[in-house]
């Protein structure tokens, strides 16, 4: 893999993070009447000026980010804290730190969203491939309008429907939460099965909502690839149908499909986060929802920043993987 390709992509990653951090920093300061300051003042006032640690925190905040500080100083201080992984304190659950708040919720989200997205992508892509097979039976082709409709429904709305049908009416699955109520988290079978039960519906929402889109896009790509010259020569060579379909058609369609995965990554994450809200699933999304309700600005900013960084890193990794799959990319610099 040529060095300048890696460097360029890494540069993009750094640029994204810088932009994300800057926007995150600027927003509260651009809105008239700095809301963060206001919230802090309000908290201070309601506590009657006697909150020990809270006072200390507010003082140190003022010292670093206070309005009497020149903007540049605030900006640099912000970066300084970030690089020390100090995202501040949760205003709602003081003295819990934002980083702790996030790290307790993060594994839940990674598990749910990560695995569901992978399953959704894989099943959708394979399904799309099957739908594009020239000899596909009429019945299967009837799936296409259904998939079109499915792909147009926002993730979390599908979640609502699933909750109603499976949790309330059919009572097959729990309606919310990440693990059985009142239970403790241990590494044993009952807990694990409880976790899986609770994860089932949220996962199903993400998977079902995504399948339509992946299947349709894969099918579209294969259909257009089937018109390419190399398919004609493959047929002329007397290759068997399935070989042509898998190694000439699908293999070539996989590349743009993965690119699409990268491009839509932010949408996937956004949708999944809303699903967590519907199911009160204890991940980052639900944390965000709670923080919004409590106007816990530091947690909100922390989560948003983390999302930006996480997606940028995932895209960077995808960019590194891509040349391994598509031989044309690695040699782009010729």
């Amino acid at each position: 893999m040529p060095l300048d390709y890696v460097v360029k992509r890494f540069g993009l990653l750094v640029l994204t993070i810088i932009l994300g951090v800057t926007i995150n920093f600027m927003i509260p300061r651009l809105i008239p009447g700095d809301p963060v300051e206001q919230k802090l003042n309000q908290m201070f006032a309601t506590s009657g000026g006697q909150m020990g640690d809270l006072t200390a925190m507010i003082e140190s905040y003022r010292a670093r980010f206070g309005l009497d500080q020149p903007l540049w100083n605030q900006y640099l201080n912000y970066w300084w804290s970030l690089l020390h992984l100090d995202l501040g304190y949760s205003l709602d659950r003081f003295p819990e730190k934002v980083s702790d708040s996030i790290s307790s919720a993060l594994p839940w989200t990674l598990g749910l969203v990560g695995i569901s997205t992978l399953i959704s992508f894989t099943i959708g892509t394979v399904l799309g491939g099957m739908l594009a097979w020239p000899r596909v039976p009429r019945l299967v082709r009837g799936l296409i309008p259904l998939l079109m409709i499915l792909s147009a429904i926002p993730y979390f709305l599908l979640g609502l429907i699933l909750v109603f049908v499976f949790a309330i009416v059919l009572k097959l699955f729990p309606a919310g939460g990440g693990y059985p109520y009142g239970g403790t988290l241990q590494f044993d079978l009952p807990t694990l099965s409880g976790i899986l039960q609770h994860a089932f519906l949220p996962a199903a929402s993400i998977i079902l909502a995504g399948i339509g889109a992946w299947a349709l896009s894969m099918r579209g790509m294969i259909v257009s690839i089937l018109g390419e010259d190399y398919i004609i020569l493959a047929e002329a060579k007397g290759l068997k149908q399935h070989r042509i379909f898998i190694w000439y058609a699908m293999r070539n369609a996989l590349l743009p499909q993965i690119t699409t995965l990268g491009l839509t990554m932010s949408h996937v994450v956004a949708g999944a986060i809303l699903v967590e809200v519907i199911f009160a699933y204890p991940g980052i999304g639900y944390k965000l929802f709670q923080a919004i309700g409590a106007k816990d600005y530091f947690v909100i900013q922390g989560i948003v920043l983390m999302m930006i960084v996480a997606i940028a890193v995932i895209l960077f990794i995808l960019d590194l993987i891509y040349p391994l799959i598509d031989p044309r990319i690695a040699y782009e610099r010729r």
């Binding site: 792909s151 609502l160 809303l274 999302m307």
Partner: protein
């Protein structure tokens, strides 16, 4: 010979109307009519909090019952629909406008201008819209329909900018643009007279996609509780339904109808965009 070619062109003009496009437009028109004409059937006061006894199931008096705050759900639905459409379309138009201008400029004039715009757009595209929208929306003291549209538009231009830029790059190399340049036409004039008209199908496609995006963002923000608290939109209806545990209380008449209307909107938009894609493609195949 002459009569032959005439009938040929006449036939060519209409077979493009793809079925998907027609279905999509009908769905959207239905929702539009519902949202524009529907409210005239209901007294706006019936959508106020406390207008009726709460949690009533559907009946002859209230076709979709009442919600936990005493609103007539059917009436609320007809008033909420145009609000949601308003946000989506408003954000879509503004976002499209900005996006088209940036895309045209970036695609036509390469060099530094292009690099700056392109890199910014690329980087911003990787940042999840919802994330930034959440940060901005949380810090607003007051939220209104118009304000939401503006905030969403602030990020909605990303997609059309990229799409328009890509198309402009292709069109720029077309023969008629080269000819115009040789004839001494200035850059801006070429963009407006030669490039823009040929971009129209792509702009239409981008518009649909942008509106779809924007509506999705607005509903997402509302579901998180960041929507206009005093106005009813479809997303807000869902938010309130969630807030008052409508699902657990089995109040399907409250949370299901907004979902139905939203799904109709998105499916309609999807079909329209799919149909437009087909049209653009067949057109391409014929010209090349």
């Amino acid at each position: 010979m002459n009569t032959e070619s005439k009938t040929q062109t006449r036939r060519l003009r209409f077979p493009n109307l793809d079925l998907t496009l027609v279905v999509g437009i009908s769905l959207l028109l239905t929702v539009l009519l519902f949202g524009l004409i529907g409210p005239s059937f209901f007294d706006p006061k019936t959508t106020n909090v406390g207008a009726f006894p709460p949690r009533l199931p559907p009946s002859n008096d209230h076709w979709l019952g009442t919600d936990s705050q005493g609103r007539d759900v059917m009436a609320a639905l007809t008033y909420a629909t145009p609000q949601t459409l308003k946000i989506g379309v408003l954000a879509g138009i503004i976002g499209l406008g900005i996006g088209v201008i940036l895309g045209l400029v970036s695609g036509y004039f390469s060099g530094i201008v292009d690099t700056v715009i392109r890199t910014t757009t690329d980087v911003l595209n990787t940042i999840p819209g919802i994330a930034l929208l959440v940060v901005i929306a949380t810090m607003m003291r007051m939220m209104s329909v118009e304000l939401m549209a503006m905030i969403i538009a602030a990020l909605a231009w990303r997609y059309p900018a990229r799409a328009v830029r890509a198309q402009t790059l292709t069109l720029r190399e077309r023969a008629y643009v080269q000819v115009a340049r040789l004839n001494g036409m200035g850059g801006l004039e070429i963009i407006v007279k030669e490039v823009l008209p040929n971009l129209l199908p792509y702009i239409a496609g981008s518009f649909v996609a942008t509106v779809s995006q924007a509506t999705l963002s607005s509903i997402g923000l509302e579901a998180l509780g960041l929507g206009p608290q005093n106005t009813l939109t479809l997303g807000m209806m869902i938010y309130w339904a969630q807030y008052y545990s409508a699902i657990l209380r089995n109040m399907w008449w409250w949370w299901a109808p907004p979902i139905v209307v939203i799904v109709l909107i998105f499916v309609g938009l999807f079909f329209v965009s799919s149909g437009l894609d087909q049209m653009v493609n067949t057109r391409l195949r014929r010209t090349e």
